[in-house]
Each structure stands twice: as structure tokens, then as C-alpha cells.
Symmetry: C2
Subunit: 201 residues, 2 copies
DNA sequence: TTGACAGCTTACTGACCGGTAAGTAGAGTC
DNA sequence: GACTCTACTTACCGGTCAGTAAGCTGTCAA
């Protein structure tokens, strides 16, 4: 029977992709190896072959997020603060569009106390990187004078990060909150709304 | 043996109290009847006697929140917008102080897609009430001219609600974010910080 | 041709999950 | 003293969870 045993690392990637979707929609404790193996058409133990413990899978997921997020920010270092902010906004829009997922930081911080220690460490580092990026955006916006706000960039970044995380979760109950919140943040950062009406949304 | 079979409705209340703490720290799917019965010193089936299905317990918890929150807002109708805002802030502080709990809306919106339908309906109503109160605060602040902001009260309320929900979750990783975010919100609402330094932090 | 290894499978374990049926002790009512 | 109700208990159930041991198969290198 079995002819191709998956072109090396292919199954592993499929597992990660599926686990990621399940993590963002159901949470870490909300998905099982069974759910993954059923969709992939393999046995439960096949998942355990690639990720002996569920913790290993969890850690791998966060590490992949961190690599991905690092590439994301790297690719935007040269953009202006306003453009960076809009890309940041788009990130959350993407999550919501995909089966009403919430952002990884939302899942991880909510489940944090019940996460295995190694995952907590990875999650802390990841969340720190996300918040730092929000701060960097605020800092750039002020330096360029394309944003105008009272208070320090650190505080603006913290608000930006917290607000989007909360709004993305609440969007599951009221879809409109994401757009409302983004517009209000733009207003609070002194960004001329007219510049973004061309986006049509 | 057994002499007192709990002074009528006492066990039921104990179950609710324990379940509430577990809900806010571990989530709805993150606690079990076993955990409750073990602490209470009763058998599993005793919990099922009071709440036949876990869904019943979940609904009862949200309904109790809604009653409590209605009393909370009722008692503050006559306060000024700034005072109302500070009470709102204190709410989140209370959750965090109690074993790093997060707010019920955070748990419920995060787990929303996996919640039983009856719980989803209750959760939606509850979250709507919480957001409405945030809007009411912003509205009052503007009417009294004790707050100054651009944009509509609806948007300010949405930001206020989202931000606190997110910050409360992120406080599990970085404790400082709650204070930072609150100060920044005050600044964004044009509230004179000096007025609140008497609180000492 | 043999041997090693990757990538699985079959078959299982023990713990825990929510939930149920049947029985029982005590208190209150008639 | 019999009846009834509340508030449980004991003793299960089937299902699902993460995890493991041992076996099988195709590929590739020596």
C-alpha cells in the first residue's frame, strides 16, 4: 500500500499548520492530537513521532511565530510609522478573517497560568517582542512627527497592543468593534483619517 | 455520620464561588467538576445534583455576573464620569490582585466559539452590558466636560473596554502594563493626572 | 545484500472528562 | 408511624485525553 511517506518534513509542516489554526481558534488546551491526526489521515502516534509531547508542539508553534514575526518587523523597518501601524492593523484583520481566530498573544496570555513552563518562557519572549514592535511604531511616528500624542511611546505601544488584543477577542461577539477601535486609535494618534478612506473600510 | 447537610443553598453558593475563581483563572474548559468537588469535600455527583450539566453551571455563573454588574453600575449612576472611570479601573485591579485572574469578558470572548449556545447568548448579553457601561462613562465625561477627547463616546467606550481586557491578560506576563495603560487612557481622555496622584499608585 | 534509519502503524495504558442510576440519611409534614 | 422531599452518596458508564512500546516498510548508503 503506502507508497510515499510524505516528502520529508512535509507531515511535520502540515501538523504545525493545522495545530496553529486550532490553537488560534480553540486554544492550547482546546485542541487534541486526535483532531490533527483525523484531518491529516494519519494515526495519533504519527503526531507523537514528530512531537513526542504536546508541549513540544506548543513550543515549536511559538518559536515559529517568533521567527515569522521577526521577519515581519524586519521587512518593515524602513516604512514610515503610519504605514507600520496600518500593517499592524492588517495583521489583526487577517486573524479575524480566518475563522474568527484571535491573535497568538491573546491565546497565550489567557492560558498562561496553565501552560507548561517551557511554553511560558517562549510565550513571554514572544509577547515582549510584539509589544516592543508596537512601541517602536509609536516612537517612529513621534520622531517623524506623523503622529501626535501625549505621553511616552512605551505607554502608547502598550495601549496599542492591549487594545488590539482585546478588540480581536471581542470581535467574536461584535464584528464592528475592530474597525471602531482602529479608527479611534488613529484619531488618538493624531492621524488624519482622510488619508485612509481610500482603503474603503 | 453526616449531621448537617449544608444550610440550604450553601453548597450551591460554594460551588458557584469556586467555579467562578476557576473560570477566571483557568477558563471554562479549563476546570472540572472534580476540582470543585475535591475542594468542597463532596462527591462529583453532588455538583451534578445542583448543576446537572456543566452548561447549567456556566449559565448560572454568567447570570450572576450580570446581576452583580447591574448592581455595580446602578450604584454609580450619580457619580461623575471621572469617578466612574476610576471604579471601572479598580474592577480590573481587583481581578488581577486575586490570583492573576482575568475579567469574565476576556475568558468568555476567548472561549466563545467553543461555548455551548445558551452560554454564548448569556455571554453576548453580558459583554454588551459591559461595553455599554464604558460608553456611558465616556458620554458622561463629555457631557460634564470633565473629559476631553476626539471621536464619539461609542468609540471611546469600545477602546476603553478592549484595552482593559487586553491589558489584564497581558499583565500575567508583565505586571506593569495595567498601570501604564490606565495612565495613558487618563491622558488620552484629557484627565489631569495630578488629581489621582493622591491615590499613591 | 545487508544494515541502518526515517516515518510511520497497530495496539495499548492509565488518567480524567462529563454524566447517570440507584440508593440513603435526615428533616419536616400529616 | 408512614410519606415526602432535599441533599447528598456509591458505583458506575462511554468517551477522550496524552503518551508509549513494539512492529513494519520503503529508501538509501556501504
Amino acid at each position: 500500500m503506502k507508497m510515499e511517506s510524505a516528502a520529508k518534513g512535509e507531515t511535520r509542516k502540515k501538523i504545525l499548520d493545522l495545530a496553529e489554526a486550532l490553537l488560534l481558534s480553540h486554544g492550547y488546551h482546546g485542541f487534541s492530537y486526535q483532531q490533527i491526526s483525523k484531518v491529516l489521515g494519519v494515526r495519533n502516534a504519527a503526531i507523537h513521532y514528530h512531537f513526542p509531547h504536546k508541549t513540544d508542539l506548543g513550543v515549536a508553534l511559538i518559536q515559529r511565530y517568533r521567527r515569522r514575526f521577526a521577519r515581519f518587523t524586519d521587512s518593515q523597518q524602513r516604512l514610515g510609522g503610519q504605514e507600520q501601524l496600518e500593517r499592524y492593523f492588517e495583521l489583526s484583520e487577517t486573524y479575524f478573517a480566518k475563522d474568527r481566530q484571535i491573535c497568538p498573544s491573546g491565546v497565550l496570555s489567557t492560558e498562561f497560568p496553565r501552560l507548561p513552563e517551557v511554553m511560558q518562557a517562549e510565550a513571554s519572549a514572544f509577547i515582549d517582542e510584539m509589544r516592543s514592535w508596537a512601541v517602536a511604531i509609536a516612537l517612529k511616528g513621534r520622531a517623524e512627527a506623523t503622529m501626535a500624542y501625549t505621553g511616552e511611546p512605551e505607554a502608547i505601544g502598550a495601549v496599542l497592543f492591549s487594545t488590539l488584543q482585546g478588540a480581536l477577542q471581542l470581535a467574536r461577539i461584535d464584528e464592528n468593534i475592530l474597525v471602531t477601535v482602529k479608527n479611534q486609535i488613529r484619531a488618538m494618534l493624531g492621524i488624519n483619517m482622510a488619508e485612509f478612506t481610500r482603503e474603503g473600510g
